[in-house]
């Protein structure tokens, strides 16, 4: 994982997502809820970003902004230096189809379609022929290790397998960004680790920018940077190096690990083996 940061030094650093003083206000009747209170950040190409924070912190709202799923009340969101708020419906659809791949906590596979059909659906929206789509789809399924289950429907797959299909689907049109909302939220410990590893591989080999919103501390070790959101504002942005968490230590004591990162102290934990 540490290789990626080093490998990227010689590649020109580009900003793929940039927010400028983004604010979001929800009106619930007479009450105004300030979900985001002015967040400015930028995300570089090829980074693996985790947005973390407690429930109600605005983490999900920020995530939606960055993923072109919602428009800010004020401020701008630039994806590849294009202001998302200025796009019309066709352009937004194109963006979601070609530039961004989405992964959801609830997998969100189309239940009436097989794994291969799910993976090739975005390709259909991008205008690929059936044959091209099928070839590419099988290749993607092979990358996530599910080539032999290409004709299984979602209900015939386990949670982890469904999420892997979802990852393959997200990669369908070779997007520059993958947006993952709590990808391990519905998975057990072991499966969650697999998924995080898979995402890390996508990030390393395909140079895809990965932005996740998550509670899962296992994600910390895979991320390049962690953006802590609290109460609608940026609490802290940390680089993984600063956290100094060993891969094995997370399994040993999850609670301790979290506390360690919040305090920002070094922990030397034994390998749980």
């Amino acid at each position: 994982m540490a290789d990626t940061a080093a490998a990227r030094t010689d590649v020109e650093q580009q900003t793929v997502v940039r927010t400028v003083d983004v604010r979001k206000i929800y009106r619930m009747g007479k009450v105004e809820v300030h979900a985001l209170k002015g967040i400015t950040l930028d995300i570089q190409v090829g980074e693996y970003i985790s947005i973390m924070g407690p429930s109600g912190s605005g983490k999900t709202t920020l995530f939606n902004m960055v993923g072109a799923l919602d428009k800010p009340s004020s401020g701008q969101v630039y994806i590849d230096e294009v202001d998302v708020a200025q796009l019309d419906a066709y352009e937004l659809a194109w963006l979601r189809c070609r530039k961004i791949g989405y992964i959801f906590q609830t997998f969100n596979l189309i239940p009436v379609m097989s794994a291969l059909e799910n993976v090739t659906l975005p390709m259909t929206f991008a205008g690929l022929t059936t044959d091209e789509a099928r070839d590419k789809g099988m290749d993607l399924l092979d990358q996530v290790g599910l080539a032999e289950r290409y004709d299984h429907k979602p209900f015939e797959l386990s949670g982890g397998q469904q999420q892997r299909v979802a990852i393959a689907r997200a990669m369908a049109n070779s997007p520059s960004i993958i947006l993952a909302d709590e990808p391990t939220g519905n998975l057990d410990l072991a499966t969650g680790k697999e998924i995080i590893q898979l995402l890390g591989e996508m990030n390393a080999h395909q140079n895809v920018t990965i932005i996740t919103a998550t509670h899962d501390i296992k994600m910390l070790s895979a991320s390049d940077r962690i953006i802590w959101v609290r109460d609608g504002t940026l609490a802290k942005i940390e680089r993984r190096e600063d956290l100094d968490i060993q891969v094995g230590s997370i399994e040993g004591d999850a609670e301790g690990g979290v506390e360690a990162s919040l305090r920002g102290t070094e922990e030397d934990e034994q390998d749980a083996g």
Partner: protein, 466 residues
Amino acid sequence: MAQPGHGGGQKIGRQIVLPFSKAFEIAWKGIKIRIWRSMITMSGIILAIAFLMSVWTGGVFERALHAVPESHPLHSLVQGALEAEAMAGGGVRLHCVVAEERAGGSVEAITPGGSLETFLNATEAFRAESVSAEAEALAEVLDRETADVSALILVGLPPGLADAQAASLLERFVRDGGFLLVYGAGGVSDAAESPLAGLLPATPAGGVRSFDEGSLTRGPQAVQVQWATHPAARFVEARARSGAVAMAVARDGGDEVAWSWDLGKGQVAWYSVDGASAADPDVLSWFVRGQGAEGADETVQVAGSLMNRLIARGAGSRGQTHDMRGVWLVTLSLMVCVVGITNAMLMSVTERFREIGTMKCLGALDRFVVKLFLIESSLQGVVGSLIGAFIGFVLAFLRALLTYRVTDLETGETFWLTLHFFPIGSVLVWLVIALAVGIVLSIVAAIYPAIRAARMEPVQAMRVEA
């Protein structure tokens, strides 16, 4: 076709509009998996179209029987069946006033009993009333319930009725559309003396000539009709000449012979109970064979069956109101069906929020989502309409089959008339119309839910709870 390259270097493009076939593919897959859920939506269409079809094709079977030409060997049975059906269909109330001559020259009120009792019992549609045959009473009845009295049967011609009164009463009655049946038993002494003399065709002295000599196996040698120089008789003549339907029935020995005056033509046609004349379509040309019993009962029953036919013909013209009610019922059921489908589809949209949101995240345009739902609904419409039309047809067919089933009393053979006269062309036409209606309905009903689905925000796909 643009290559989906690494989105990083490419500026924002515009999403292409997918061909219809793609939407169809995905919608078709959706239906196959959600087949049980679709059945619920479809059941509304099935019921509505079944109802529609059964109403339409019911009429088709009946019209096919009406269209049977008189030359067809089964024509008489067909007529009988249609008339019986019309009778049973109700809607025609007949008020029958029967005035009878008693022996001794006086006219007495009718009391149910004896032959008349049989008559009344044999025709349930009648509401008979006993009245004094005197002119005042008769006038009062006719005055009071003119609208209700559809037919007047004079059993015998009461000689006690005064000329002018009876004539005017009867004249007004027939002018108002009533049917007058003068039923006289007895014989005629001399045809020349009869006020009907001018109408009778030239006959050999003392004899009666039949049109169809072959059918009248036992030809009466003399027909005796007891026509007094009665105003009613003259009246009947006069009316007959001007076109009203009038008829006299007489018995000669053991045979029934009847005269009828053709509408406006002034001709006299002879009928035996066996045969029918094809030359007078406007006049009742059918007698059913007297059903068994000898004596007065038989003649009464003949008169009764004559009335049946009249009522049936009258009932036919009353059929219009039936149709309007049918149209209203059908329209109502279709409207209910549309509401039901809309509701079911809205529920479906609400439940599939995640799926729709995800599709939009994958790049589906709003119009694609609309197409998806419209196609789904129209597919359901096609399948539902086919099933419904079939069910409706079967129901109507079975009903017609059982209704128009007659037994020829002579031969004892049973005919399933609907099978003999099956209107395949009309049935197919209505089938196509029912299908079209079902599909249009399904699409119309899905418009609002489809638009709701299309407006759904992709961020909905993120929601964890339903």
